[in-house]
């Protein structure tokens, strides 16, 4: 229901058309009426003169005079009146030498003008009458032409000429239908632009592909493209700033770390000092990781000059990253295991895929229990590469599973250290490669998290 109440351009155009039509129509009617009322029996003298002539010439034959006058009266009534409403018909009063010679049936006898040749009104028999009396130039014959009240006259004219105007009135709604159709058709380019913009993804800021031919649309499309361009530039500046800031952080963090580690390596430290120094190293470690992840995230978000897309052997890449990270896992007493199909090829960016793998493996390792195993699997399935990373840690509550991908989100009862950016990076990379990620439970109902990543396989050339 709401939709019909909101204004639309279509209705606006339709309304404008209808108004113009109505205006023209009213103008036509007005002109018509004006013309018709000009043709006013009442004002013209012709009727008077005709009746005077009849009354005069037949003055010596009262019977014939009466019949003729009556015939005239009936003719008048038929010509200018409404057959169904005798009360609306004109009437005549004929007087000779002051004596009423003829009176129309519908007209009261007491109507008298106080002056000749002027229109006067009087109320008689509960109605208003207008009448004009003219006198013959050569005798004392007087003829009074009577019209019932003013308002009826218009209606009279209207209905007697009605068969001209009725078709006009009926045709208006039928004119609106083609108008609606034609306006809708004409607005099609407009809807195309709106459709293209609506279909845009949130990060797609490229210029519109629709090139309008019509004058009105061109400035609109140009301004939209200009706006997108400004947005792109502003986003690029922002990301470049964050990347620069993160980059700048690396040297001071490196300085902190080296100094503390040099201190740790010196002799003569008591255990408490050693503890404190270890705390500083851990802190700088976390800062380091955050900086690294910030840069990874900015890179995977960046639109400007994307790194080359290449054909990659995903099975070998996974093997490589697992090898690189197994040292850390081993130090935490967690085993890494891989079960991969050979020859799984995808096309993508090597560095961002490495970040994705590193973050997934690192998370699984962090949350695995001591002595546990992180199982990584890779297989092909109907045009996709399916990567699974399974750990037997605490898992992620189903309610939180969609939120963990948000930047800097940390679960409420989080005990592990981390920046909160890992999964944001993972999602960003997967999206860039046209894949999907799912967080789920293990098939056997045991504890832990099963991460499933689907990536489209490289198409054969």
């Amino acid at each position: 229901m709401r939709r019909w109440v909101r204004p639309t351009l279509l209705r606006r155009l339709l309304l404008a058309q209808a108004l113009v039509l109505a205006l023209l129509w009213s103008l036509a009617v007005g002109l018509f009426l004006a013309e018709a009322s000009g043709d006013n029996l009442y004002e013209a003298q012709s009727a008077h003169l005709a009746v005077i002539a009849v009354a005069q010439n037949l003055a010596d034959q009262p019977a014939r005079q009466y019949d003729t006058l009556r015939a005239f009266d009936l003719a008048l009534r038929e010509g200018y009146g409404d057959k169904n409403e005798p009360g609306l018909a004109p009437g005549i009063l004929v007087r000779q030498a002051g004596r009423l010679v003829y009176k129309s049936d519908n007209v009261p006898a007491e109507l008298r003008n106080t002056r000749l040749d002027s229109s006067e009104t009087m109320v008689a028999q509960g109605r208003r009458w207008r009448f004009v009396t003219r006198q013959s130039a050569i005798s004392d014959t007087r003829v009074t032409l009577v019209m019932p009240g003013g308002g009826w006259q218009l209606w009279l004219t209207f209905s007697s000429r009605g068969y001209y105007l009725l078709p006009l009135m009926i045709s208006i709604p039928f004119l609106l239908l083609p108008a609606w159709i034609s306006i809708r058709l004409a607005l099609r380019p407009w809807r195309q632009v709106a459709g293209e913009i609506a279909a845009r993804g949130p990060r797609d800021l490229t210029p519109l592909s629709f090139k309008p031919r019509h004058e009105e649309l061109r400035p609109l499309v140009e301004s939209i493209n200009a706006l997108m361009q400004r947005l792109r530039a502003s986003t690029a500046r922002e990301q470049s700033f964050i990347a620069d800031a993160a980059h700048e952080l690396r040297t001071p963090v490196a300085a902190m770390r080296i100094n503390v580690e040099a201190l740790q390596a010196q002799r003569g430290l008591d255990p408490r000092q050693g503890e404190l120094l270890a705390g500083i190293v851990r802190g700088s470690d976390r800062a380091e990781r955050l900086v690294g992840q910030l840069l990874q995230l900015m890179r995977s978000n960046a639109e400007t000059s994307p790194p080359p897309v290449e054909l990659l052997a995903l099975d070998l890449l996974v093997q490589e990253r697992l090898a690189a990270l197994s040292g850390l896992a081993h130090a935490r007493n967690v085993e890494l295991e891989l079960s991969a199909e050979a020859g799984v090829s995808i096309s993508g960016e090597r560095e961002s895929l490495m970040s994705m793998l590193d973050n997934l493996i690192d998370n699984a390792t962090k949350y695995s229990p001591i002595g546990g195993t992180v199982m990584v699997g890779l297989r092909r399935d109907a045009g996709h590469a399916i990567l699974t990373v399974a750990d037997r840690g605490r898992g992620i509550a189903p309610a939180l599973r969609s939120r963990v991908f948000d930047r800097f989100f940390r679960a409420p009862d989080q005990t592990q250290t981390g920046s909160g950016l890992g999964l944001a990076i993972v999602r960003s990379v997967i999206e860039k490669h046209g894949g999907r990620i799912e967080l789920g439970d293990h098939g056997d109902g045991g504890p832990g998290l099963l991460v499933t990543v689907r990536l489209p396989l490289a198409t054969e050339k």
Partner: protein
């Protein structure tokens, strides 16, 4: 060992300097490219630690000039730029190694020593891990003093793993380096070599990381896994 440290950051530079001094090395620390040039011309350094983001010039052009004059001097790049492209560029331009800031002191020391060994031909010395010793030039392998006879592939395999002790080497890399035909359809060939090697040198050295690769740990395994 004399190390030329080219780093403009005060705290980082000083930290590295003190850490290296504590390890018994001599350190000349400069903060600008032209000072580095002068130090290179006058002194005899054994190794250069080179930061790329220097205030008065580009570390890479210093590296290029250095390579034209003294081809054998080991150079280790220290840089905040971690992109793969940057790393490759550094190595292609003549650096021997590339460390991304921030780095652990232990890592810096380990790589400095590795470079020094290489440049002094100290690769003449045998690599030793927990009683297992391998001498590359003579292809001699001993376990707790007792000599062991290895096939060509087994020797390559052991040598490769020992040189990268504590780092997992992927199956792929081992297949490329060790199998005569390179990686092929037979995924078992590598495993056969490994099990043969284990039989000859003992079970406690090579650790399997299933599906991924193999590693020789410097420290003994904790629970005899």
């Amino acid at each position: 060992m004399k190390i030329l440290l080219v780093e403009d950051d005060l705290d980082l530079g000083n930290g590295i300097r003190v850490a290296l001094l504590d390890q018994g090395m001599e350190v000349i620390w400069v903060r600008r490219v032209d000072d580095a040039e002068r130090a290179l011309e006058s002194g005899a350094s054994d190794l250069v630690l080179l930061d790329l983001g220097l205030p008065d010039g580009d570390g890479m052009s210093l590296l290029a000039r250095l390579r034209r004059r003294r081809r054998a001097l080991p150079v280790l790049i220290l840089s905040a730029r971690d992109a793969l492209g940057e790393r490759l560029r550094g190595l292609d331009s003549g650096a021997d190694d590339y460390l991304v800031k921030p780095f652990a002191l232990a890592e810096l020391l380990s790589r400095v020593r590795a470079l020094a060994r290489r440049s002094y031909g100290l690769e003449d010395e045998a690599i030793e891990v927990r009683g297992l010793s391998l001498h590359e030039p003579t292809r001699r392998v001993r376990v707790h003093g007792a000599p062991v006879e290895l096939s060509r592939s087994e020797f390559e395999l052991l040598s490769h793993l020992l040189k990268r002790a504590d780092r997992v080497v992927t199956r792929r890399v081992l297949e490329e380096q060790v199998l005569p035909g390179g990686p092929g359809n037979d995924s078992n060939a590598l495993d056969v070599h490994v099990s043969n090697l284990r039989r000859k040198i003992g079970e406690g050295y090579i650790r399997t990381v299933r599906g991924i690769g193999y590693v020789i740990d410097q420290a003994a395994p904790m629970d005899g896994r």
